[in-house]
Subunit: 238 residues, 2 copies
């Protein structure tokens, strides 16, 4: 925990937050200290329960989680994926209540950060909270467009491109290469499809040479070309 931030378990999270807003030593110190007593959660565990009060923002240090909504007949929608460096409950409302459950998709470690009201006005971390919220919103909007107006092939390509960019922010992806710790069923629940169809579309993407899948990693061979094809638009940091 003590050594250089570059090698600590918080490195991806710090990379992302630094990319969102310039952080000074005090901010970094805050994060490193918080990361020192991180919390571990196994797959399928709930990080946040629907309706629960969000006392303090959480920072994902490693692993993936998802905001999720279940219907009584078994249908399930992954609303939003949360990646390392993502914040939960950093929105403007300090006394907010969780609008959805958040469950761990892989093993997750996370830590608690200060509430907005505990931060100095103008602190870099506060700016990072704001930027993170703005990005959250743009990813939600992207998800709506995916589900509403893209076909299965485009949905998958678009999602992969978004994940690549988001992970790249945390230094966890680059050059078209990204980890993908999702089952095809989870991808289906994210994209409003069935796992069977996701499987077929992934194969099509492979056959047409757009991607390679191996060992939980995806390689997007021509990110720019694919982005053009599905009209992917990169979210802008506010």
């Amino acid at each position: 925990m003590i050594p250089a931030a570059g090698t600590s378990a918080a490195a991806p999270a710090i990379a992302r937050l630094s990319a969102l807003a310039p952080l000074d030593d005090a901010d970094l110190d805050l994060i490193v200290k918080a990361a020192a007593n991180a919390q571990w959660l196994g797959r399928r565990n709930e990080l946040v329960r629907h309706g629960e009060a969000l006392t303090r923002p959480s920072l994902i240090l490693s692993g993936w989680a998802a905001r999720i909504r279940d219907l009584s007949d078994g249908r399930r929608q992954l609303l939003y994926l949360m990646l390392p460096g993502d914040l939960i409950g950093a929105s403007a409302c300090d006394d907010a209540v969780a609008a959805t459950s958040v469950v761990a998709i892989s093993e997750v470690t996370l830590c608690r950060l200060p509430r907005r009201s505990e931060l100095a006005c103008g602190a870099g971390l506060l700016k990072a909270y704001n930027a993170s919220c703005a990005l959250d919103e743009s990813y939600l909007l992207a998800q709506i467009t995916r589900l509403g107006r893209l076909n299965a092939h485009e949905r998958i390509a678009d999602l992969l491109l978004e994940l690549h960019d988001r992970l790249a922010l945390a230094g966890l992806a680059g050059g078209g290469r990204l980890p993908l710790p999702l089952t095809q069923e989870m991808i289906a629940d994210m994209l409003g499809l069935t796992s069977v169809h996701v499987n077929r579309m992934l194969q099509q993407l492979r056959r047409e040479g757009s991607i390679t899948l191996a060992g939980g990693m995806v390689m997007i061979h021509d990110p720019a070309g694919l982005a053009d094809l599905v009209e992917y638009r990169r979210a802008t940091v506010c």
Copy 2:
């Protein structure tokens, strides 16, 4: 209470904001003054252009607008409907940039409100901003679930129920009755369907006695029953 607020053009907006957070006379005065120089926009006009800086929050006084995303091949997605009393750009980030265009769906009047930074810490209006942002988010999540996991019949019912509740907040709907100034094509673009299919589903809803459509008004005959059927969950004010 400001005298005659009940009859002013800002009445629905004030009703909604008051429902989100208790407003004192100073807050109400601010709104009424702002509403005094309202701005008028005709159908299809852009309230906000994509990428434009959001200098100050806008309050919709009357009419409907929508956040929208257009694809180059003509496909179009309505991301989010904005109703009287809704705020544009009230999020945490004062220096944010519009993530999407906002266009007027009907004739719209709106006014500018103070930025967050110009409001007293703890002001009722600031709380209303926060609550409004929280609601925005839960409506976005609801939209994702609709598009991802509900079929056409359920999507329409769910949307009508949401609109009813949202309009009721501003005193513009109640008892299952609400205005609906949308063409079927707009509903289609909102719900990721074609206008042809929206038409058929609306007829089915009428035939099965769920709704009545007349003169731009919808009557939902058994809101609770329908809500149960499509598993509609009312958004909670934070």
